[in-house]
Each structure stands twice: as C-alpha cells, then as structure tokens.
C-alpha cells in the first residue's frame, strides 16, 4: 500500500522537523524547504512558496499549517493527519516532561534567580518581535492609524483594568477592512458601468 508508506515517511520527516525547529515557524520554513524541496523533491519550489504564503496568512502556528498542507498534497487526508500530529508530537512530549519537573526546578534558589532575569528577557523578545513586524509593515494610512489606535486603546483599557478581549480587535479590524474593500469594489464597478453607458442595463 503505497499511500501508507508515504504517510509513514511524512510522519518521520515532520517529526524530525518538529524536533529540530527552535524559534518558531519562520525557522521551520528553511528546514522544510531543504527537506521537502531540495532533498526529497516532494514539492516544486514555487509550490512551496505558495504553501508558505497560505501557512502565514491563515490563523494558527505556521508549522502546523505548513505540515497540514504538505501532508494533504502528498497523501490526502491521512497524509495531513500524519504530518500534523508528527510536527506537534515532539513539542508536546518535551514540554509535558518539562512541566512535570518545572516547579521542583524553580524551587532551587539559583534557578529562581535566573528566571528573574529570564522573564525580563522574554519581555524584550516579545517587544523586539513586535518592533520587527512594525518595521516591516507598509507605511499606509490604514496600517499607521490601526496599529497606533490598537496600542493606545489596549494600554488605556489595561490601565483602567477594563477587560476587552484581543479577539474583538482582530474581528473589528477584519470587519472594517472587508467593508472598505467592498465599498471600493462597488464604487469601482459603478464607475465602470457608468463609463460603459446603458448597454449593460439588465446585468446585476
């Protein structure tokens, strides 16, 4: 059964990728590229770019998204299941093991001291990730207004300790972006129609 073999191979490759990618999704992309495109020739390179674009623009971890997509391409549903489980499994096992010992580990005096410093470092890492994304952001009116509004509102609400879920910010901006798009789309169409004059009257 060749499909089973493909699934097994997918599982092993994705497990390896899940085991060796430190630093999240973007680090994984180069590893995926070398495994899937250069080494095994499972995907063409422009196909791979498409996978990356989809994985980055859909919700969820980039690694999981890419694994599901590649798995489906190579071996259908079972392929995507095998690839997704395999890429998440190493993290799951490692973190679960750590979580069993973490409290005991933290109760050591010097470890607790070390984590005093590490927490500060994590804040820096998040901040620098945000700054990097901000620099990459195209400087359009929308991007500047939305990002500064989100920062101002979230900080104001958190200082006043008013709970307002991040989900709403995402949904509201998604809705506004869609409205803006529809507005410009219909305006362009109406303009097109009026340019062409009444010969397309019956068409909606």
């Amino acid at each position: 059964m060749p499909k089973f073999k493909t699934c097994l191979k997918l599982f092993l490759v994705m497990f390896k990728i899940g085991l060796f990618t430190f630093g999240g999704g973007y680090a994984m992309i180069s590893l995926l590229e070398s495994e899937l495109v250069s080494k095994r020739k499972w995907l063409e390179s422009d196909e791979f770019l498409n996978v990356v674009a989809i994985a980055e623009s859909t919700p969820g971890p980039v690694a999981i998204n890419a694994a599901t997509y590649v798995g489906y391409k190579l071996a259908g549903f079972w392929g995507s299941l095998a690839a997704t489980v395999a890429v998440a499994l190493p993290s799951f096992l490692i973190i679960f093991l750590i979580s069993l010992f973490f409290d005991a580990f933290l109760s050591l005096k010097h470890v607790a001291y070390a984590f005093d410093g590490i927490r500060v470092c994590v804040i820096f890492l998040i901040l620098s990730a945000g700054v990097k994304m901000l620099i990459k952001l195209e400087k359009t009116v929308w991007n500047i207004v939305v990002s500064s509004l989100v920062i101002a509102v979230t900080i104001a609400l958190s200082v006043l300790s008013i709970a307002f879920s991040s989900v709403w910010y995402i949904l509201i901006t998604a809705g506004l972006a869609l409205l803006l798009y529809l507005f410009s789309y219909f305006r362009a169409r109406r303009k097109e129609k009026s340019d062409k004059q009444p010969d397309e009257e019956g068409k909606q």
Partner: protein, 190 residues
C-alpha cells in the same frame, strides 16, 4: 469542567491567532490571567521555556498550560484545541479553495488585520514591561521600581541591538535567555 474550558479556550486561540508565534501572546496572556491559571511571572517563565524548546510556541504554551492545570489530559486537550482550527482551515483550503489567496477580498482582510496583530504584540510587551519593572498594573497601584530588572533589560537589549548592527545577524533568542539567566543570578547574589 476544566477540560472543556481548556479545549474551548485554546480552540479560540488557535482560530484567531494570525501572524505566528507571538501573534497569539496577547490572547493567551489575557486568558490565563483572567482564569487565574497563571500569574504574570509564571506566564513569562513558561514563554521562556517554550521559546528554548523546539516546536511552535503555540503548541508549547498549550501543552504547558494544560499540564500545569490538570496534568496529561489537560495538556492533550489544550494542544488538540490549538491545533484543530489550523488543521480544519488548511484542509478546506488544500482540498477546496486552492486559490483562496488570489481573491482580492481575502487579501485585503488579511493585510487589514496585520497592523492589529502588530499593535497587540507591542502593547502586550509594553504592559508587561511596566508591570514587571515598575510594579504598576492598573489605576490605584503604587509604583515599585525594580532597578535590577531594568538593568537586565538594558543589557539584554544592548547586546541584541549591537549584535544586529555589527554582525548583521540576529542574536539567538536561546543565547539571550541564557545570558539573562546568568545576569539574574548575578544581580541577586551581589
């Protein structure tokens, strides 16, 4: 029913977290603080561990938080929850709408939410910075300035920025975590 809560919470996180990695930090943070699953300190500890172990940050955080609340089953349901939306959405895209990204409407919504994600990440970092270094969370709190934390922050930031300027490469986050751990021991011992 803690298992159901964990599952649904991480399902929501998996479904709306765009932008990979830190894109879901703000949502995970407010969830764990609201449910009193973790304190801010514990949350930051967990991120450090998630960042220094392999695998996607979201999966690591889900496993860690699930396990910290109710053990193995908790870890399992939280991880399944965070993965499931990706799996289903990508499956639909791969099977049915291969050229989803070619639709202008989809593109404009996706690029429309990007500044929101960036804003959420930055404000989360700034809020945590003020909480950890000035001990201030919301109106009514008094300030308690932590000079040790600020010193570590400045050293870490200087190393990372200088490395980027002179070596033209990113200073590995794991090395940065190790460095800050050493600094943490140093400032507490002296």
């Amino acid at each position: 029913m803690i298992y159901l809560t964990l599952f649904l919470t991480f399902l929501k996180i998996g479904a709306v977290s765009f932008g990979g990695g830190y894109g879901m930090i703000s949502l995970i943070r407010e969830t764990v603080l609201e449910n009193a699953w973790l304190t801010e300190e514990e949350f930051l500890n967990f991120i450090a561990v998630a960042e220094s172990t392999p695998g996607p940050l979201a999966v690591n955080m889900a496993t860690f938080i699930g396990s910290s609340q109710v053990g193995f089953l908790g870890a399992l349901v939280a991880t399944l929850g965070v993965i499931l939306p990706s799996f289903v959405i990508i499956l639909i895209i791969a099977a049915l709408i291969k050229n989803l990204l070619k639709y202008a409407g989809v593109k404009s919504v996706l690029s429309g939410i990007r500044p929101t994600i960036v804003g959420l990440i930055l404000s989360t970092a700034l809020t945590m910075f003020v909480t950890q270094i000035f001990g201030f969370t919301s109106v009514g709190d008094t300030f308690s300035f932590d000079w040790r934390a600020l010193a570590i922050f400045l050293i870490v930031a200087a190393v990372a920025v200088l490395w980027r300027v002179f070596k033209k490469r990113q200073f590995s986050p794991i090395l940065l975590i190790l460095l800050s751990g050493a600094l943490g021991i140093l400032v507490n011992v002296i």
